[in-house]
Symmetry: C2
Subunit: 153 residues, 2 copies
Protein backbone atom coordinates (compact mmCIF):
# COMPACT_ATOMS: atom_id res chain seq x y z
CA UNK A 1 0.00 0.00 0.00
CA UNK A 2 1.53 3.37 -0.91
CA UNK A 3 2.02 5.88 1.86
CA UNK A 4 -0.66 8.57 2.03
CA UNK A 5 -2.08 11.01 4.54
CA UNK A 6 -4.25 8.20 5.92
CA UNK A 7 -1.52 5.59 5.97
CA UNK A 8 1.59 7.43 7.02
CA UNK A 9 4.02 4.53 7.51
CA UNK A 10 5.01 1.93 4.99
CA UNK A 11 6.82 -1.26 5.96
CA UNK A 12 9.80 -1.95 3.75
CA UNK A 13 10.52 -5.36 2.31
CA UNK A 14 13.77 -7.07 3.24
CA UNK A 15 15.04 -6.32 -0.25
CA UNK A 16 14.24 -2.61 0.13
CA UNK A 17 15.97 -2.60 3.53
CA UNK A 18 19.14 -4.06 2.02
CA UNK A 19 19.06 -1.52 -0.80
CA UNK A 20 19.24 1.21 1.83
CA UNK A 21 21.91 -0.64 3.83
CA UNK A 22 24.13 -1.09 0.78
CA UNK A 23 23.93 2.63 0.02
CA UNK A 24 24.70 3.71 3.58
CA UNK A 25 28.22 4.17 4.88
CA UNK A 26 27.63 4.59 8.58
CA UNK A 27 25.09 3.53 11.15
CA UNK A 28 24.40 3.57 14.87
CA UNK A 29 24.84 0.52 17.02
CA UNK A 30 22.94 -0.10 20.25
CA UNK A 31 24.18 -2.70 22.73
CA UNK A 32 23.22 -3.57 26.30
CA UNK A 33 25.97 -3.27 28.90
CA UNK A 34 25.02 -4.25 32.46
CA UNK A 35 21.35 -3.84 31.66
CA UNK A 36 21.73 -0.35 30.23
CA UNK A 37 21.72 0.77 26.62
CA UNK A 38 24.83 2.13 24.92
CA UNK A 39 24.74 3.71 21.47
CA UNK A 40 27.51 4.81 19.12
CA UNK A 41 28.11 5.53 15.46
CA UNK A 42 30.01 3.02 13.32
CA UNK A 43 30.96 2.81 9.70
CA UNK A 44 30.49 -0.59 8.18
CA UNK A 45 30.63 -2.85 5.15
CA UNK A 46 28.09 -5.37 3.88
CA UNK A 47 29.39 -8.93 3.60
CA UNK A 48 27.14 -11.76 2.35
CA UNK A 49 23.99 -10.74 4.20
CA UNK A 50 25.86 -9.61 7.30
CA UNK A 51 27.38 -6.28 8.30
CA UNK A 52 30.95 -5.90 9.53
CA UNK A 53 32.39 -2.91 11.33
CA UNK A 54 35.77 -2.07 12.73
CA UNK A 55 36.23 -0.68 16.19
CA UNK A 56 38.69 -0.21 19.02
CA UNK A 57 39.66 -3.41 20.80
CA UNK A 58 39.58 -3.63 24.57
CA UNK A 59 36.60 -1.43 25.23
CA UNK A 60 33.51 -2.51 27.07
CA UNK A 61 32.14 -3.17 23.61
CA UNK A 62 33.92 -6.53 23.56
CA UNK A 63 32.11 -7.60 26.71
CA UNK A 64 28.80 -6.55 25.25
CA UNK A 65 29.22 -8.69 22.16
CA UNK A 66 30.17 -12.36 21.72
CA UNK A 67 26.81 -13.34 20.36
CA UNK A 68 24.59 -11.08 22.42
CA UNK A 69 21.84 -9.37 20.45
CA UNK A 70 22.49 -5.86 19.19
CA UNK A 71 20.45 -3.37 17.18
CA UNK A 72 21.96 -1.66 14.16
CA UNK A 73 20.13 1.29 12.63
CA UNK A 74 20.42 3.49 9.57
CA UNK A 75 18.07 6.28 8.56
CA UNK A 76 17.71 9.13 6.13
CA UNK A 77 15.26 11.19 4.18
CA UNK A 78 14.60 12.08 0.59
CA UNK A 79 15.89 15.33 -0.86
CA UNK A 80 12.57 17.14 -0.54
CA UNK A 81 12.10 16.08 3.12
CA UNK A 82 8.67 14.67 2.24
CA UNK A 83 9.49 11.19 3.50
CA UNK A 84 12.01 9.60 5.83
CA UNK A 85 13.02 6.00 6.35
CA UNK A 86 14.64 3.90 9.04
CA UNK A 87 16.05 0.36 8.81
CA UNK A 88 16.98 -1.77 11.83
CA UNK A 89 18.87 -5.05 11.89
CA UNK A 90 18.78 -7.16 15.04
CA UNK A 91 20.89 -10.18 15.72
CA UNK A 92 23.94 -11.58 17.39
CA UNK A 93 27.26 -9.78 17.11
CA UNK A 94 30.63 -11.38 17.55
CA UNK A 95 34.24 -10.36 17.29
CA UNK A 96 36.01 -11.83 14.27
CA UNK A 97 39.15 -13.62 15.32
CA UNK A 98 40.10 -15.35 12.11
CA UNK A 99 42.00 -12.97 9.87
CA UNK A 100 41.15 -15.09 6.81
CA UNK A 101 37.50 -14.56 7.56
CA UNK A 102 38.11 -10.83 7.69
CA UNK A 103 40.07 -10.74 4.45
CA UNK A 104 37.40 -12.84 2.76
CA UNK A 105 35.07 -9.89 3.16
CA UNK A 106 33.43 -9.00 -0.12
CA UNK A 107 33.86 -5.31 0.56
CA UNK A 108 37.42 -4.47 1.46
CA UNK A 109 36.58 -0.76 1.63
CA UNK A 110 36.12 -1.09 5.38
CA UNK A 111 38.07 1.60 7.11
CA UNK A 112 37.99 2.83 10.67
CA UNK A 113 36.06 6.06 11.14
CA UNK A 114 38.84 7.34 13.36
CA UNK A 115 42.53 7.31 12.61
CA UNK A 116 44.67 5.30 15.00
CA UNK A 117 44.82 1.63 15.89
CA UNK A 118 41.42 -0.04 15.57
CA UNK A 119 41.98 -3.68 15.12
CA UNK A 120 38.79 -5.39 16.19
CA UNK A 121 36.28 -6.44 13.55
CA UNK A 122 32.74 -7.26 14.58
CA UNK A 123 30.17 -9.08 12.48
CA UNK A 124 26.41 -8.85 12.98
CA UNK A 125 24.35 -11.75 11.67
CA UNK A 126 20.85 -10.31 11.38
CA UNK A 127 17.93 -12.39 12.54
CA UNK A 128 15.45 -9.56 12.08
CA UNK A 129 15.50 -7.01 9.26
CA UNK A 130 12.83 -4.34 9.59
CA UNK A 131 12.34 -1.02 7.90
CA UNK A 132 9.73 1.61 7.40
CA UNK A 133 9.29 4.71 5.33
CA UNK A 134 6.95 7.43 6.49
CA UNK A 135 5.63 10.78 5.46
CA UNK A 136 7.09 13.75 7.28
CA UNK A 137 4.41 16.09 8.57
CA UNK A 138 4.42 19.62 7.17
CA UNK A 139 5.07 20.98 10.66
CA UNK A 140 8.09 18.75 11.19
CA UNK A 141 9.44 19.62 7.75
CA UNK A 142 9.17 23.34 8.47
CA UNK A 143 10.88 22.78 11.81
CA UNK A 144 13.78 20.91 10.21
CA UNK A 145 14.15 23.43 7.38
CA UNK A 146 14.12 26.24 9.92
CA UNK A 147 16.91 24.43 11.77
CA UNK A 148 18.88 24.35 8.51
CA UNK A 149 18.23 28.06 7.93
CA UNK A 150 16.21 27.22 4.80
CA UNK A 151 12.75 28.25 5.95
CA UNK A 152 12.14 31.76 7.17
CA UNK A 153 8.37 32.26 6.93
CA UNK B 1 44.31 19.30 23.92
CA UNK B 2 43.51 19.86 20.23
CA UNK B 3 42.90 16.84 18.07
CA UNK B 4 45.89 15.78 15.95
CA UNK B 5 47.17 12.67 14.19
CA UNK B 6 48.56 11.46 17.51
CA UNK B 7 45.49 12.34 19.55
CA UNK B 8 42.59 11.52 17.31
CA UNK B 9 39.69 11.91 19.73
CA UNK B 10 38.79 14.95 21.73
CA UNK B 11 36.36 14.82 24.65
CA UNK B 12 33.78 17.57 24.46
CA UNK B 13 32.79 19.66 27.44
CA UNK B 14 29.20 19.57 28.63
CA UNK B 15 28.74 23.04 27.19
CA UNK B 16 30.03 21.93 23.77
CA UNK B 17 27.72 18.90 23.91
CA UNK B 18 24.69 21.12 24.54
CA UNK B 19 25.71 23.43 21.70
CA UNK B 20 25.48 20.44 19.37
CA UNK B 21 22.23 19.25 20.93
CA UNK B 22 20.58 22.63 20.55
CA UNK B 23 21.51 22.73 16.86
CA UNK B 24 20.26 19.21 16.16
CA UNK B 25 16.67 18.44 15.23
CA UNK B 26 16.63 14.68 15.44
CA UNK B 27 18.43 11.94 17.29
CA UNK B 28 18.41 8.20 17.84
CA UNK B 29 17.10 6.70 21.04
CA UNK B 30 18.26 3.34 22.43
CA UNK B 31 16.17 1.56 25.06
CA UNK B 32 16.30 -1.92 26.56
CA UNK B 33 13.19 -4.05 26.12
CA UNK B 34 13.29 -7.51 27.72
CA UNK B 35 17.06 -7.40 27.89
CA UNK B 36 17.52 -6.52 24.24
CA UNK B 37 18.38 -3.18 22.67
CA UNK B 38 15.91 -1.26 20.54
CA UNK B 39 16.88 1.81 18.55
CA UNK B 40 14.80 4.34 16.64
CA UNK B 41 15.02 7.89 15.34
CA UNK B 42 13.18 10.68 17.14
CA UNK B 43 12.89 14.39 16.68
CA UNK B 44 13.10 16.37 19.85
CA UNK B 45 13.18 19.71 21.63
CA UNK B 46 15.47 20.95 24.38
CA UNK B 47 13.69 22.04 27.56
CA UNK B 48 15.65 23.36 30.58
CA UNK B 49 18.51 20.88 30.40
CA UNK B 50 16.31 17.98 29.38
CA UNK B 51 15.19 16.70 26.00
CA UNK B 52 11.56 16.01 25.13
CA UNK B 53 10.30 14.00 22.19
CA UNK B 54 6.89 13.05 20.93
CA UNK B 55 6.03 9.53 19.96
CA UNK B 56 3.18 7.10 19.42
CA UNK B 57 1.41 6.03 22.60
CA UNK B 58 0.75 2.38 23.31
CA UNK B 59 3.89 0.90 21.85
CA UNK B 60 6.39 -1.20 23.71
CA UNK B 61 8.23 2.07 24.17
CA UNK B 62 5.96 2.92 27.09
CA UNK B 63 7.00 -0.28 28.87
CA UNK B 64 10.65 0.51 28.27
CA UNK B 65 10.42 3.92 29.91
CA UNK B 66 8.98 5.04 33.26
CA UNK B 67 12.35 6.01 34.61
CA UNK B 68 14.50 3.29 33.11
CA UNK B 69 17.79 4.51 31.68
CA UNK B 70 17.96 5.25 27.98
CA UNK B 71 20.70 6.47 25.67
CA UNK B 72 20.07 9.37 23.31
CA UNK B 73 22.61 10.07 20.58
CA UNK B 74 23.26 12.72 17.96
CA UNK B 75 26.16 12.87 15.55
CA UNK B 76 27.44 14.69 12.52
CA UNK B 77 30.52 15.85 10.70
CA UNK B 78 31.94 19.10 9.47
CA UNK B 79 31.48 20.17 5.85
CA UNK B 80 34.92 18.99 4.76
CA UNK B 81 34.54 15.55 6.38
CA UNK B 82 37.78 16.09 8.27
CA UNK B 83 36.22 15.59 11.69
CA UNK B 84 33.09 13.99 13.08
CA UNK B 85 31.43 14.26 16.47
CA UNK B 86 29.00 12.25 18.58
CA UNK B 87 27.13 13.29 21.72
CA UNK B 88 25.32 10.85 24.03
CA UNK B 89 22.95 11.65 26.88
CA UNK B 90 22.11 8.91 29.37
CA UNK B 91 19.45 9.07 31.99
CA UNK B 92 15.96 8.17 33.03
CA UNK B 93 13.08 8.69 30.63
CA UNK B 94 9.46 9.09 31.61
CA UNK B 95 6.19 9.75 29.90
CA UNK B 96 4.82 13.20 30.57
CA UNK B 97 1.29 12.99 31.84
CA UNK B 98 0.67 16.56 32.87
CA UNK B 99 -0.36 18.64 29.91
CA UNK B 100 0.67 21.84 31.70
CA UNK B 101 4.17 20.44 32.01
CA UNK B 102 4.18 19.81 28.28
CA UNK B 103 2.89 23.26 27.39
CA UNK B 104 5.42 24.82 29.70
CA UNK B 105 8.11 23.57 27.33
CA UNK B 106 10.43 26.35 26.33
CA UNK B 107 10.50 25.10 22.76
CA UNK B 108 7.01 24.67 21.39
CA UNK B 109 8.36 23.73 17.98
CA UNK B 110 8.09 20.07 18.91
CA UNK B 111 6.28 18.22 16.17
CA UNK B 112 5.89 14.55 15.46
CA UNK B 113 8.19 13.27 12.72
CA UNK B 114 5.26 11.34 11.27
CA UNK B 115 1.82 12.69 10.50
CA UNK B 116 -1.01 11.05 12.41
CA UNK B 117 -1.86 10.80 16.09
CA UNK B 118 1.24 10.84 18.28
CA UNK B 119 0.19 11.99 21.64
CA UNK B 120 2.80 10.73 24.05
CA UNK B 121 5.56 13.06 25.18
CA UNK B 122 8.66 11.62 26.79
CA UNK B 123 11.25 13.56 28.76
CA UNK B 124 14.83 12.43 29.30
CA UNK B 125 16.61 13.84 32.34
CA UNK B 126 20.29 13.33 31.55
CA UNK B 127 22.57 12.06 34.30
CA UNK B 128 25.50 11.65 31.93
CA UNK B 129 26.40 13.98 29.06
CA UNK B 130 29.35 12.79 27.01
CA UNK B 131 30.68 13.78 23.64
CA UNK B 132 33.71 13.42 21.50
CA UNK B 133 35.02 14.86 18.29
CA UNK B 134 37.50 12.90 16.23
CA UNK B 135 39.51 13.12 13.05
CA UNK B 136 38.24 11.09 10.14
CA UNK B 137 40.98 9.04 8.52
CA UNK B 138 41.80 9.81 4.91
CA UNK B 139 40.76 6.30 3.91
CA UNK B 140 37.36 6.62 5.58
CA UNK B 141 36.84 10.04 4.02
CA UNK B 142 37.56 8.68 0.53
CA UNK B 143 35.19 5.80 1.21
CA UNK B 144 32.38 8.11 2.29
CA UNK B 145 32.95 10.51 -0.63
CA UNK B 146 32.97 7.56 -3.01
CA UNK B 147 29.63 6.49 -1.54
CA UNK B 148 28.31 9.98 -2.26
CA UNK B 149 29.63 9.81 -5.84
CA UNK B 150 32.02 12.68 -5.06
CA UNK B 151 35.34 10.86 -5.27
CA UNK B 152 36.23 8.97 -8.41
CA UNK B 153 40.02 8.54 -8.26
Amino acid sequence: MPISEENTADHLTSSQCWDYIRQARFARLAVVVEGQPEIFPVNFAVDHGTVVFRTAAGTKLAGALSGNPVAFEIDGYDDTLSSAWSVVLKGGAALLEDYDEIMDSEDLALFPWQTGAKNAFVRIEPEVTAGRRFLISNAARRNVLRGMGLYTE
